[in-house]
Symmetry: C2
Subunit: 468 residues, 2 copies
């Protein structure tokens, strides 16, 4: 383990080892025999008295059907619930990336955390163009990248994007924003060299990084292509979901007809087998009986929708919705909705104009999402938060950025200054998906606490456990 | 890395390193500087010419905002797409777990893989009881465990479960099955010592293990409890989802009313703020405008449903649905639906009676799920499959078990024997959730292949990349 790994990391590693042994139904004696440990020592590891080291992890991954990473926790680099990266630190990470031997972008890191999948960069455009032509040879395109990208524009920036072989240019201004799909090539230039032209390129991996990527890397290309589900308007998306569930349950059209009371011909229409007559979309009552018959929920049959056009969702500031929180009469903030897409229902991008001189309890912002914030404009902002029963405040200067953990309440205030500070907020989901959140909601009593830190064998050696 | 780690593991580790550097917008020069590597060596690591070792992983987790596990792939212990554990190997893993000093269960491992979250055990009941009293003092309860458990019963087995402090006993017979929620205490005994009495206890972690658990372990108890969403009939579940999305987007009831055209009073009813008058469930048109207004899909607003009662879903064999595949006139298999729950729409449990003497192409079973199979009864079964363009067959004897990768087509046949073999199938979702599957369906051209094995910088140093 890294030498700087704290007590928390050690405790979490201990709990993972106990959890892994429990899952494999190994008590301490079995585990010691399997791992070649001296008698009595397993409890030292699972209690945190002895650190779980790389040697033990390797051995466990050899003798047990698990992987090294299954025994590794993550680092808590945000013990106060909010961590700040100052503009000065960002500036010191500055690096120029060249294309064809000439500087094209200046990159600076902003706030990141080991807990979240954000990879947010401040990027200044070094290339200046005199037109909005997507085929301008001065424009240097990238190859696209894995991460989703939310971009906020400051100054006269041209945004170029390519989709299915065609290139587009969208001239952007301060307050405009865009959300884009992975692996689509794109580029940025400045339309002027006399004013600031930069972007906040807030990339994040979301559900695409982590376990899913590891699994698909093993399963390979063919399986990955086979697992893709179409996002489309109309009946084809439901048809794909239905076929997928029918295959999962080895249910034939005749059996599904018998379970649902729908005619076999209608089942063939809904599953897209009858290509000549699709018979129209499923109505609500049909979705209900299909879900019942397949033993799933209606939500599982409904596809997500997307508002992207050519792979992107552009939101110009001039058309963006704004509202006041908590209300128009006594506003603490003016909020503006930035670019996003229903494909990522758990991503929200907001511009916050801070109007209140002091933190207000009726203007606390709390969410299940991870949060990233960046101070736009030229006014400092005071941020207050609560974590583990403690309150914190920080004065953030323009160009400062911060990461905030889920469920940490945050307030903003001007700190008494007459001007209105402006904050960019990007909130994203972590690995705790709705499925996991609903699972937490159905766990037996005491389950949640054991789930996040298993510290005991799954049974009592002495006999029945009467605590339950 | 473990010495037995193959080329595949090394290649996948190389791709993860390139991907991590890309995500952090580090080209080779930057990465070498950050990691203290000699010039030119980074490409050796990301190409797989030099193995990514633990030292490099530790260093990366120190200087970059990521964790050791983010750079670790998983092992492919199933290179043929299907792997078998013979009954003999299972027997050799036999171990007796005692309660109060007396043997209570005999455990045997069955087929597992490092790719999937199955922890399936064969368990024989050593304790014999003479009644069906849940409070029989001979019954030794466990504390419950993290994993979901699907159980298939063979012989006269009593199943005990406890929910919210009350204990229950369900007398089970061969062919009965049950699906249960995590952390609920349970136990098993035999009603007879003169006939076999055992279970297949097929536990699996699903979405609860892996990244989500790591993240919640850092966020802590309070956050984990705060993230739980209720699974309930009636309006309270929608209300919780709506409040969660409104908080995520910092949308006030007034703003949501303006976006949707619904009255503010109705919004208060739907979000559960008006506790005196809930005004009835949301109708389809309201769900549509709410999803539109919040920028999500209708699926995101609908809660899952559960059919569990006291934490379990019991399916007696005598009431179970059966059907033939591909059809009743020329059946290859008779399928029987075993226990499950809509909370886990991607888990399916099936009993397969194999009727066909030879593998049939119209009876190939393919699914997006991971598969576990166990040969019940006393007849061997022939299993055929295809993987990477190669066909395999194995004769599985009673008590043999196997793991099958997603998307691998499988057939069963009697191999010419006159009797009908019986196979237990448990299929579960992996880390590739519907969200990821829909994301695969929307990636830009070529994205899927790069997603599972990134082998290039995200841009060309020479200038524009014209391949896109």
């Amino acid at each position: 383990m890294p030498s700087e790994a704290g007590d928390g990391f050690r405790r979490r590693a201990a709990a993972l080892l106990r959890s892994a042994a429990n899952d494999l139904k190994r008590d301490d004696d079995n585990a010691e025999r399997d791992l070649g440990l001296e008698p009595g020592s397993f409890a030292d590891y699972t209690s945190g008295r002895r650190p779980v080291d790389w040697g033990l992890i390797r051995r466990a991954a050899e003798v047990w059907p698990l992987n090294e990473r299954d025994l590794l926790p993550v680092h808590d680099d945000c013990p106060r619930g909010l961590s700040v990266m100052r503009a000065k630190e960002s500036r010191s990470s500055s690096r120029v990336l060249a294309r064809g031997g000439e500087g094209y972008y200046e990159y600076r890191d902003t706030a990141m955390s080991r807990i979240a999948s954000y990879r947010p960069e401040w990027i200044r455009m070094l290339r200046v163009v005199g037109d909005n032509d997507p085929d301008n040879p001065l424009v240097q395109w990238n190859r696209g990248h894995l991460l989703y990208q939310f971009t906020y524009f400051v100054g006269p920036v041209n945004y170029y994007y390519r989709w299915q072989g065609r290139s587009y240019c969208a001239p952007m201004e301060t307050g405009d924003s865009v959300w884009g799909l992975p692996f689509a090539p794109h580029s940025f230039t400045a339309r002027s060299d006399s004013e600031p032209a930069y972007i906040l390129a807030l990339t994040y991996g979301g559900s695409l990084v982590g376990d899913a990527q590891r699994e698909l890397a093993v399963l390979g290309r063919q399986a990955a292509h086979g697992l893709a589900l179409p996002v489309a308007d109309g009946p084809s998306s439901l048809a794909a979901a239905l076929r997928s569930f029918m295959a999962a349950q080895a249910v034939t059209p005749a059996e599904l007809a018998a379970r649902t009371g729908l005619a076999s011909a209608r089942i063939r229409q809904l599953t897209g087998e009858d290509t000549e007559d699709t018979g129209g979309s499923a109505v609500e009552s049909e979705l209900g009986v299909l879900a019942q018959g397949l033993g799933v929920s209606v939500r599982d049959l409904l596809p997500p929708r997307s508002g992207t056009h050519h792979g992107v969702a552009i939101q110009h500031g001039r058309d963006a919705r704004s509202w006041f929180l908590p209300d128009e009469d006594t506003p603490a903030y003016r909020l503006t909705r930035l670019a996003g897409d229903p494909l990522h229902p758990h991503t929200s991008a907001l511009q916050v104009d801070v109007l209140t001189p002091a933190a207000r309890s009726d203007a606390q912002l709390v969410t299940y999402q991870h949060q990233y914030l960046y101070v736009l404009g030229d006014q400092p902002v005071e941020v207050g938060w609560e974590h583990s029963g403690e309150r914190g405040t920080e004065l953030l200067e323009p160009g400062d950025s911060a990461y905030v953990e889920p469920q940490v309440p945050v307030t903003f205030s001007t700190g008494g200054g007459g001007q209105h500070p402006r904050v960019l907020l990007l909130r994203i989901a972590g690995a705790v998906t709705p499925e996991v959140r609903y699972a937490l909601g159905t766990m037996a009593e005491g389950g949640i606490n054991r789930y996040i830190a298993e510290d005991q064998l799954w049974y009592s050696k002495e006999g029945s456990d009467r605590r339950a």
